[in-house]
């Protein structure tokens, strides 16, 4: 870094300013010096730039970057037995491409999707330049497989008898193979007879939708609300008041009856 260096006359001037520090900041002192105009004129030629031999930043900035090693490379060698999920090769970019029974992750990691033996190979018919990693089921199998041959696949499953017989809910919209004239009727078990299901919160209860349709099942008729029908609203009010009165009587004599304010007619 080149540092500007002040000439001796200026140095003494600055020292003088420092001694008699009327101004708070040195910058302001320099400013005052310039304004006064007196004294030696500061020309740009009087500032010299100096370069030292070595500096602190030399070591850090211009050094080649090198961090801790990321342990890339092959994790499974050729003809080694792997299971699905095993990582075979870690890489930056695709030095190797996924071949048979292998997949590639988001950071281009090659991993096995089937249990078998790892194979490193080239397949010029697939791509002239690329190299692949694949997994075979037999150690002696050579990749790439012959052109247009059937793919080798493994079931990897076992058969088991189902615990409950497969129940088929008949669908009325689909045709019956035997006879299309009969209509399919779905019989629903009544809600009361249905067993209670275990719900969230470890409660055995009916489903909310079943509870919601209770009024429909009980065939309760409700009159439609008409917003500006004061006659119906008044009738409802009368009914509600009567019910409340009855409730109060039934509730007990301890409850205080609030006396209704009667409208006194002014004559």
């Amino acid at each position: 870094m080149l540092l500007p260096r002040l000439q001796p006359p200026l140095r003494t001037a600055v020292k003088a300013i420092g001694r008699s520090s009327q101004q708070a900041c040195l910058n302001e002192a320099f400013g005052a010096l310039a304004i006064r105009g007196g004294g030696p004129s500061i020309s740009p030629a009087s500032l010299t730039f100096v370069r030292h031999a070595s500096h602190a930043q030399q070591g850090a900035v211009n050094k080649a970057k090198d961090g801790p090693g990321k342990r890339l490379g092959a994790k499974k060698s050729g003809e080694q037995y792997v299971i699905p999920g095993n990582i075979i090769f870690r890489q930056r970019g695709t030095h190797w491409f996924p071949g048979d029974n292998c997949g590639m992750g988001r950071d281009h990691t090659i991993y096995a999707t089937e249990a078998g033996y790892v194979k490193y190979y080239k397949d010029p018919e697939r791509h002239p330049k690329r190299q692949y990693i694949g997994v075979t089921f037999e150690r002696s199998q050579v990749l790439p497989l012959p052109r247009n041959s059937m793919r080798r696949r493994k079931l990897n499953m076992f058969a088991q008898k189902m615990e409950t017989a497969p129940i088929e809910a008949p669908r009325p919209d689909l045709f019956l193979a035997t006879d299309g004239s009969q209509a399919v009727v779905i019989k629903e078990t009544p809600v009361e007879q249905k067993p209670l299901k275990l719900k969230s919160g470890y409660m055995y209860r009916k489903s909310n939708w079943e509870i919601g349709r209770a009024a429909e099942r009980a065939k309760i008729q409700v009159k439609e609300f008409k917003p500006r029908d004061r006659w119906a609203a008044w009738k409802k009010t009368i009914k509600r008041r009567a019910a409340n009165r009855e409730k109060r009587v039934v509730g007990g004599k301890k409850t205080k009856k609030k006396g209704r304010k009667s409208m006194s007619r002014t004559t």
Partner: protein, 434 residues
């Protein structure tokens, strides 16, 4: 204009308007002693005949409703019908636009040239056919190749002659093209190759039909599937109850002539638990089915019993098994009619199309695919078809980990061996008195 003129303006206007001419003889009664009702009745009767609506020109909603009620649908959009109704209906090629007519003249001249070329080519072919092969340098082989080449060129010229005709283009686009004519076959093939063929090739590659079922396959005929009225997308999943009935095929070939085809439906994902593999099964096989560019519809349920070698087995997939791919292949019988009596003992299981087609010299020309998974109706379908195994469920085998189980950690784990039996909980160490 004076005030009186202004005042009388409505009246004068009324008198000036030709409303008088619109008045019918009915309303203007001349002096007569007979009652008015007689005339009115006659008038009403004459208008009682039902109005006939033309499906090409009907525009009113009332007319459309009346037509649809009678069972006839109006043709085209309302705008089109209005245009036909109000225009002069000049045939397309006679439209009076100068550039258009000049263009048509140029095309007509070109067509005339091509027809001349077709005639000369035909003459050349007949001359070459009549020629003795010994007179040619190369003999029969050269004559044959030359004839083939000339025939190909003739077909090319036929198409070039008709290609620019706007009426042919219109007829093809309306679906009225006669597939016995080469130009319509050519246009249909071109349209198929633009999109639908690309789609089926994509599905073949994606679903791995080519390496698994056949080594090589290039579609040259369009195949469309449907179950009853439900169209099937290439590679789409079909409910087991829907595919319980036999397929309906729609096959369009683009080369002329009638030929005999075989139809094969193969399931290439039948699981085998014992050998931990997959095998193939044939769900349908029909042979000696006639097919031509004009006969496109093949309902499999309506084929004769002689043609059907293996009747329709409903597709089914057991619970937990991966999806099954069903490939429907239409194969040309290059050796002519096949004697189906030799195929009576053919088994459905372990059916491989690769060997079957080589044995009977079949050439696959078109195919389509659909897939099937386990659903609620599969059990019923299997029961009705008499197939066992509806209550079988496939479950994944547990993969044994290569890594040994992690060692137990902690003080308890480290001090649980016999070496530390003094420290075992609940047991006091027996201290020997020395």
């Amino acid at each position: 204009m004076s005030t009186c003129q202004k005042a009388a303006r409505p009246l004068t206007r009324c008198l000036q308007t030709p409303q008088g001419s619109q008045l019918s003889a009915r309303s203007i009664r001349t002096f007569t002693s007979s009652p008015r009702s007689n005339e009115e009745e006659a008038a009403v009767e004459s208008t009682k005949q039902p109005r006939v609506w033309d499906p090409l020109t009907v525009t009113s909603k009332k007319g459309e409703k009346a037509l649809m009620k009678s069972g006839v649908m109006p043709i085209g959009s309302r705008r089109r019908r209005m245009a036909i109704q109000t225009s002069d209906n000049i045939p397309f090629e006679q439209l009076p636009y100068q550039c258009f007519q000049e263009g048509l003249t140029v095309l007509k001249e070109d067509r005339a040239e091509k027809i001349k070329l077709i005639q000369t080519e035909r003459l050349r072919i007949s001359n070459l056919q009549a020629l003795d092969p010994s007179k040619l340098k190369g003999g029969e082989q050269v004559k044959h190749t030359r004839l083939e080449s000339m025939r190909r060129h003739l077909e090319y010229l036929k198409i070039q002659a008709d290609r620019n005709d706007p009426n042919i283009k219109k007829r093809f686009e309306d679906g009225d093209g006669d597939m016995n004519k080469p130009i319509y076959r050519f246009l249909a093939d071109e349209q198929w190759r633009k999109y639908q063929r690309r789609q089926i090739v994509q599905r073949i590659n994606q679903l791995g039909i080519v390496p698994d079922v056949l080594a090589h396959f290039e579609p040259s005929a369009e195949v469309r599937l449907a179950f009853r009225s439900r169209q099937v997308e290439h590679g789409g999943f079909i409910d087991s109850r829907v595919s319980e009935v036999p397929l309906r095929l729609k096959v369009q070939v683009f080369d002329k002539g009638e030929r005999l085809v075989s139809i094969v439906v193969v399931d290439s994902d039948v699981p085998l638990v014992d050998s931990d593999k997959f095998t193939s099964r044939c769900h349908f096989l029909a042979m000696n089915v006639p097919l031509s560019p004009t006969t496109t519809s093949i309902p499999l349920s309506q084929l004769s019993l002689e043609q059907i070698t293996l009747p329709w087995l409903p597709p089914f997939a057991q619970k937990g098994s991966p999806y099954h791919r069903y490939s429907v292949f239409v194969c040309e019988q290059t050796a002519g009619k096949i004697d189906t009596s030799t195929l009576q003992s053919l088994s459905r299981d372990d059916f491989f199309l690769r060997s079957f087609k080589d044995k009977h010299s079949l050439k696959p020309v078109g195919m389509s695919i659909f897939r099937s998974e386990w659903d609620e109706g599969t059990a019923g379908v299997m029961a009705r078809a008499g197939i066992e195994g509806a209550d079988v469920e496939f479950r994944r085998k547990k993969v044994v980990a290569l890594k040994p189980k992690q060692k137990a950690r902690g003080w308890e784990a480290r001090h649980s061996s016999a070496k530390y039996r003094q420290l075992w909980r609940g047991k006091k160490p027996f201290a020997l008195k020395r």
